[in-house]
Symmetry: C2
Subunit: 399 residues, 2 copies
């Protein structure tokens, strides 16, 4: 097999872990597999570097931050290459730049424009294990960039896509669970999940994998695996793919929670859309993507309007609301979470929405906005009901 393996920060936190990965790579090579490693910075390195930069007042200097942070991955990959090489398996490290990751010039959140694999391919042809720095690239002018949140996963998936290889993302969790096990210890590990379900889980808050890398895997049909580093039993982990085998058995794949929700409301607007137009222009200018928007006509022809966003975004909006010079006050309610029931079975199994609502009703859990897509049903509930809702829905759908 041809596998891109990605190791996160906790998996390479010390020299013993690096030695163990080197040993694993040796076994993979001896079994005839081709391996590319993608690695993050060791342990808490990135946080420590950010602390130093902050102390110097430089954390907002994106160009220098990118060059600073990129050293973290560079150290990991050289140490990994040395450790593998010391076991008699030829290995070489490549920084983002050396591996041909050409990105946009947007420091701190660059997009990959292309991967020029000439150099990488030469080393693969020589039979070497190539160890690539995650999270980083460079512009055509040799300026060092980083890819933003989840960047190392993106590096790994992009390489796998470019080469047509499989991509194994190793982390400190044993795959994807139906519900975050910290909230619901009885949660089951999923053997398989579709790209679409995973993206819903990710963008709705499950947090094990950024939407961006799943999106990329989906676009290029990269077979993804998510599991614990150095766990030999691959049944302990989750494959993410176009179509899973267990479509019929399990209408619901899981539940994800997005915390810290705010409901923003404006009541008794005239039905001319003028204020809403101005409000949306402001919100777009603040670079905020609203989550859910709802408006209702009242019996006397006015409009009650509400939208949902996270608390931080609502802070930003309230800080700038004066710019509108509006006579319509915006009120904010805090203390909500968004609960989403996710599964490709939702569109083919009827009655799932009804079962969700009746379960919540039976336990006196109040829900606000409800939205649904082909593969998800989302409800805004009060923070205080979160744990109870997870438990009763987890029981009801056998998650």
């Amino acid at each position: 097999m041809n596998i891109v393996e990605k190791y996160g920060g906790t998996s390479v936190a010390d020299l013993d872990k690096i030695r163990a990965i080197a040993q694993h790579v040796k076994e993979m090579k001896e079994a005839g597999h081709n391996v590319i490693l993608v690695a993050s910075a060791m342990g808490k390195t990135t946080n420590k570097l950010i602390e130093m930069a902050t102390a110097l007042g430089g954390h907002t200097n994106d160009r220098e931050m990118d060059s600073l942070l990129s050293t973290g991955e560079q150290r990991t990959i050289t140490l990994l290459a040395m450790a593998i090489d010391a076991l008699g398996i030829p290995a070489i490290s490549l920084t983002g730049y050396q591996c041909g990751f050409i990105t946009s010039h947007h420091h701190a959140h660059a997009r990959i424009k292309d991967i020029d694999i000439t150099n990488l391919q030469k080393h693969l042809d020589d039979g070497k294990v190539v160890v690539v720095a995650g999270f980083q690239g460079a512009t055509e002018h040799g300026e060092i960039t980083t890819l933003g949140r989840g960047g190392s996963d993106t590096t790994a998936v992009a390489l796998a896509a470019k080469l047509g290889w499989d991509c194994y993302i190793y982390t400190d969790v044993n795959g994807v669970y139906t519900i975050d096990p910290r909230m619901y210890p009885k949660a089951k590990r999923l053997k398989e999940i579709t790209y679409n379900e995973m993206m819903q889980m990710a963008c709705l808050g499950a947090g094990v994998l950024e939407t961006r890398s799943v999106e990329l895997a989906s676009k290029y049909n990269v077979r993804l695996f998510l599991g614990k580093a150095l766990e030999k039993d691959k049944s302990k982990g989750t494959f993410i793919m176009e179509k899973t085998k267990n479509l019929e058995d399990m209408p619901i794949t899981g539940i994800s929670i997005k915390e810290d929700y705010a409901i923003m409301r404006v009541n008794d607007l005239p039905n001319d859309g003028i204020f809403l137009g101005e409000l949306f222009t402001l919100i777009a200018k603040l670079d905020i993507n609203l989550d859910t928007i709802s408006q209702q006509l009242t019996h006397d022809g006015k409009v009650n309007f509400s939208f949902y966003c996270n608390k931080k975004q609502s802070d930003t909006i309230l800080k700038h609301i004066d710019e509108l010079n509006s006579k319509y006050p915006i009120s904010r309610l805090l203390g909500f979470v968004k609960l989403s029931v996710v599964g490709v079975g939702i569109s083919t199994h009827s009655g799932i929405a009804a079962k969700v609502l009746s379960t919540l009703n039976a336990h006196n859990i109040r829900y606000y906005m409800i939205t649904s897509s082909e593969i998800s049903i989302s409800l805004t509930i009060e923070e205080k009901d979160k744990q109870k809702a997870i438990e009763v829905l987890g029981e009801a759908f056998d998650l």
Copy 2:
């Protein structure tokens, strides 16, 4: 003025020191000077990285070591650039590669082939303070290289040479002394020293500056200054230049000591040169440059032969001596040092050699091999006499 300032590891060891350098740069810019900084890795960073690599068995992997070690300087320069920028002085960091340092492919001891200053010049033209990573460069193929011992000094001098700027090397010592103050506390600081004297002092063991950077400064006539970081009083430091003003006053500039000397001897060789030819071929193969060689004809037409090298080199030679299958045994004497009296005045002031020898004689200090050059007289003495020799010569020449 246009100044390249180089800061060594101890001068950038913590964030407070980085802040202080940033403040100093601000004052320099406000006084109308143009500044380029060259920085080493912070404090003990390089040693720590070497330890990690050694623990993984990778310290002999020169290619990976270069990429690993180069991250040390990269961190310093980004932090420095942030700190300067945070004071409102536009600054940018450039890695060796970004600064156009194109080197040979010899990892761990690469030679600078050229500096393509296009990128650097653009930032200078924009009025920025440019902070350059010392010690590193890259091949035409983007492979990261390091310049070996004293590499950051070489970076600074090479930049100054290319741009025609002055070069201030900041370290933790207050300039060049007549004798190492740890051996002779009464030693005087030199206000000025010539390139040639400095090279003699360096290659004969004074250790404050590598010969290579002085050689480069001499070749391009770069005005060098060596002093303590952030010391405002520039009279506390040493200028290194083509010709000093005090040529006439001071025939002797200083004394330098090279420790751990071995004398190797072969006696009663036939006078046909065969054995010596074989021996020198072996020594060249072992990549050893012999220091001093001497042969004497005995009264019965045989040759007594001896040479001097440091203890480590003598170990290497003895380990390989069997390859010669010689019937002439090599004996080794340990416990010597090489003491050198250095000064451009030596060639113009007569009687200096006589004064050195009579001073040593008067204190019963025995000397072995004596060699001399235009600007130095060197003697091999016993380790046990080192301190006494330094003191009596220091007194005699008022050093």
